[in-house]
């Protein structure tokens, strides 16, 4: 159990480092836009496949 006296302060140091890294990210503007990146993963970048839709005007119903 004595290992706790080493391990817990070690964990604290890790937490401190994590917070430093986080601050660095915030100051770099990585948290300035919290909406856009959430969607960007959905946009796949492969070129659109040629597909033929049934002809005729499609009226989007919304």
């Amino acid at each position: 159990m004595e290992s706790l006296f080493i391990l817990i302060p070690l964990a604290l140091i890790l937490v401190a480092i994590a917070i430093r890294v986080f601050f660095w990210a915030v100051d770099n503007g990585q948290f300035d836009d919290l909406e856009g990146p959430a969607h960007s993963i959905l946009f796949d970048d492969d070129p659109a496949v040629e597909k033929t839709l049934p002809t005729g005007t499609k009226v989007k119903d919304d």
Partner: protein, 816 residues
């Protein structure tokens, strides 16, 4: 009749679509050449996926004019660039641009992809929250004006943007808040872990004191930055509250955090019985989350009010010795001579020194019929020159213009706005006093019986009567509701709207642009008896002539179906009409006595006459059409027992017939802005809570005077910035929905407050009698907060029936 929609902007296309663009092998209908160009640009760039990704339609595009190209070229001048461009290295530059027309995340993708594919652009990043773009390019390969032109080509508007003070404040505030949240969140997790160890030790009763004190010390080390860094805003707020003697939520929060922290410090050093570090951190984290939600809502709404399309143009032609040079408007000074071409906005107040023209001052006066201005008369900045080029001598620029004066007036009017009390403030003040009173009573009671325990028990009372749930109750509900309304296209820019809407019992509508489309339409075509030409041929002649005019009346002939004819030698007579050659015959169209002095119009509505050689051929009736959803909306609002009034500056006969068509019983026509304001004041004196819905600058004092004001999305920027809320979708059907949602919001707020108070009332006696262990207090606090937040989030689930798009032909005034 089904209506075709434009594939790009999804606005209805009247009649047979004239424009098509090919998307994935299908000819899709387009409403205008602008949208067609945009769609083709998107397809050509291989960005067809935009149409699959998007969750909102694009904005209606405008075709790129020669003038716009010229205007963009200005931004290549180094002198202009120094405001918003930074040099990165030898020939790499970075510009900040503001982009207008972003509707959803697919826009971001489209912009970044399209800009990134341009040769010479090394990086392009667009921020969805602020609509700012950062573009880095290589001056050797591409010019900034080309980049801006490309943005315009795919359907957005763009402006150089140097973050003003407010925007950089926002950014700073946002970053500070996220840091505080992170410290509180990570700290809370750590301390909770140590707390579990302490609890289990306490329960099994076999933890040696050395371990216990060690873990307490570690907890203290983690909790200290949480209290002194993350929770700092609460202490600051509490001090401010005490100074102005108006206790808000910050006072009990600070007492609980500060008290629990100090007591835990004491216990750690003296080996006392309890530490509360875990409660302190959780508490701070939850509260900060609530505050952060509030902050985000506040930022996004104040950004919504910051619009791109400034009322003054970006550039104009200035006289330089003996040539005309295009300069940015902010370089104009008094006594400069500027030339304003037809179709351009006037850059500053000035006096006409040559030429005469008609000017559209609708953004100042709300009258969308243009007025004639001649040499020696004054024109106002922000109005639109319609017919001919004029030269003006500038008399007032920037802050001295009439329009800037209106803005100042407006600020004053806003300060005199009747305030709507917030429930949360009322409850919190009452709650704070109660908690302080009870704590004092508990302390003095126990001090009498067990002086050693008095402090601890009082402290547990403070922690247990967690104001946490209470202070989360309102902001989370308001934020969720604001978000939901935003999705409906109803944007709130002032915080009192949600609570205020519920008290509104009298709704006052402006007519033009609010209940009507605010655009002139061709309502009726009536050939003169004995005329041999077919109606189609007459229409084609009329539209060929009108195609040469910028006048609002001419816009009514824009979408005339049928054959296209060309008019030659067209001359427009100011305030009278147009004449020109079509198929080698001379025609005139316009006011009846101008076209042919021989006959009078069918009735007293607005008729244009087409004539040839003084022979009348055909009457065209021009009118503004009602929005299709107006009638149903009014019916629904009246059904909920609200008074509805139509208040307009238009002619009384027109206002009366509109009111009749819509089933509105109270109306008043020919009302000047002062009359409108007086009317609203009169209603308010009678105890009404008034919601005013309008769109013009002339409505601004009125908008500011009403309890709550709502501007239409197409309103002038000034009206939009002065209103409490903006109906972006311009669909009136969303009004009843908004009313329903505010009712739900208030219900949820009441539920939350009731729950928080009930929890507190149950916990208080237990704590006061010294029966609550700190881990129970922490657990109860956490649970009560979570319940409150979960309940509030129900508001953001679009369970409401969103305003259904009605498909109907525009209904016209039926005057019987």
């Amino acid at each position: 009749m089904t209506e075709t929609q434009c594939y790009h902007c999804q606005l209805p296309v009247k009649g047979t679509p004239l424009f098509y663009a090919e998307v994935e092998g299908t000819q899709q209908p387009m409403c205008c050449p602008g949208c067609k160009a945009v769609t083709e640009a998107i397809i050509a760039g291989g960005l067809t996926r935009y149409y699959q990704h998007r969750t909102d339609s694009g904005k209606q595009a405008t075709a790129i004019s020669e003038r716009l190209r010229e205007e963009l070229l200005i931004y290549d001048q180094p002198g202009i660039q120094q405001d918003f461009v930074q040099q990165i290295n030898n020939h790499s530059f970075q510009a900040n641009l503001l982009i207008d027309g972003i509707t959803c995340a697919a826009c971001i993708w489209l912009l970044e992809k399209h800009l990134g594919s341009l040769p010479g652009v090394t990086a392009a990043h667009v921020n969805l929250s602020t609509h700012e773009a950062q573009v880095t390019w290589d001056t050797g390969q591409i010019k900034l004006s080309t980049i801006m032109l490309e943005i315009t080509r795919i359907g957005y508007k763009t402006l150089p943007w140097h973050a003003d003070q407010q925007e950089s404040l926002f950014q700073e505030e946002n970053r500070r808040f996220i840091r505080r949240l992170a410290v509180a969140g990570i700290g809370a997790m750590q301390v909770m872990m140590y707390a579990i160890a302490l609890y289990s030790g306490a329960i099994s009763n076999d933890m040696s004191e050395s371990y216990r004190d060690f873990i307490r010390t570690i907890s203290m080390i983690v909790a200290t930055p949480v209290v002194f860094y993350s929770a700092w805003p609460f202490f600051k707020g509490a001090l401010r509250d005490i100074r102005i003697r108006h206790p808000g939520m910050d006072v009990p929060v600070s007492l609980a955090i500060g008290g629990a922290y100090l007591a835990s410090l004491w216990a750690t050093y003296t080996g006392g019985n309890e530490v509360y570090f875990d409660s302190v951190c959780m508490f701070t984290f939850f509260l900060l989350t609530g505050r952060y939600l509030e902050l985000k809502a506040r930022h996004s709404t104040s950004r919504a009010a910051r619009t791109l399309t400034h009322w003054l143009p970006t550039s104009c032609l200035k006289k330089n010795q003996d040539s005309w040079q295009r300069v940015p408007v902010n370089h104009l000074t008094n006594n400069d001579i500027a030339r304003i071409l037809p179709g351009d906005s006037i850059p500053a107040d000035g006096i006409i020194i040559s030429g005469n023209s008609t000017v559209d001052e609708s953004m100042l006066t709300g009258e969308f019929m243009p007025v004639t201005r001649q040499k020696g008369q004054t024109v106002l900045g922000g109005s639109m020159n319609i017919d001919n080029a004029i030269d003006i001598r500038i008399t007032h620029t920037g802050n001295q213009t009439r329009i800037a004066g209106i803005v100042k007036l407006l600020r004053r009017a806003q300060q005199e706005k009747p305030a709507i009390a917030h429930i949360a403030d009322r409850v919190s003040g009452w709650f704070v006093s109660a908690v302080l009173l009870i704590s004092t009573v508990v302390y003095s009671f126990w001090f009498h019986y067990a002086p050693g325990d008095a402090f601890w028990i009082t402290l547990s009372v403070l922690v247990v009567t967690c104001p946490c749930a209470l202070s989360l109750a309102t902001p989370t509900a308001l934020t969720a509701a604001t978000g939901h309304l935003h999705k409906l296209g109803f944007m709130i820019t002032r915080s009192h709207v949600l609570e205020g809407l519920n008290q509104v019992n009298h709704i006052i509508f402006d007519k033009t642009g609010t209940l009507t489309r605010g655009k002139l339409n061709l309502a009726e075509t009536r050939p003169v008896p004995g005329c041999k030409d077919s109606t189609e041929a007459l229409l084609a002649i009329a539209s060929a002539l009108e195609a040469h005019s910028e006048h609002p009346i001419a816009k009514a002939f824009d979408n005339v179906p049928g054959a296209r004819l060309q008019a030659h030698n067209v001359k427009s007579h100011i305030g009278q009409g147009i004449e020109g050659l079509v198929n080698n015959r001379l025609y005139r169209i316009g006011k009846p006595d101008f076209a042919s002095g021989q006959c009078s119009p069918p009735d007293n509505r607005q008729w244009l006459l087409l004539a040839s050689d003084n022979t009348p051929l055909c009457w065209f009736r021009i009118s503004d059409s009602l929005k299709p959803e107006a009638k149903e909306t009014i019916r629904q609002l009246m059904a909920t027992g609200k008074k509805v009034t139509l208040l307009s500056g238009d002619r009384s006969t027109v206002v009366a017939s509109t009111a009749k068509t819509l089933g509105i019983n109270h109306w008043q026509g020919e009302a000047s802005p002062d009359d409108k304001l007086a009317f609203i004041r009169h209603c308010q004196q009678q105890g009404d809570r008034v919601l005013m819905i309008g769109d013009g600058i002339n409505d601004i004092p009125v908008l500011a005077g009403a309890d709550i004001s709502l501007a239409m999305g197409n309103a002038s920027d000034l009206a939009r910035t002065s209103a409490d809320a903006i109906l972006i979708s311009q669909n009136l059907q969303q009004l009843p929905d908004a009313f329903r949602l505010t009712q739900q919001t208030l219900r949820v707020i009441h539920q939350n407050l009731t729950w928080a108070l009930a929890y507190n009332l149950t916990a208080l006696p237990l704590a006061a009698s010294g029966m609550i262990a700190p881990w129970m207090a922490a657990l109860g606090m956490t649970l009560s907060s979570l319940i409150v937040v979960a309940n509030a989030l129900r508001l953001d689930r679009p369970r409401l029936k969103a305003g259904s798009k009605q498909q109907s032909t525009p209904l016209d005034y039926q005057e019987t």
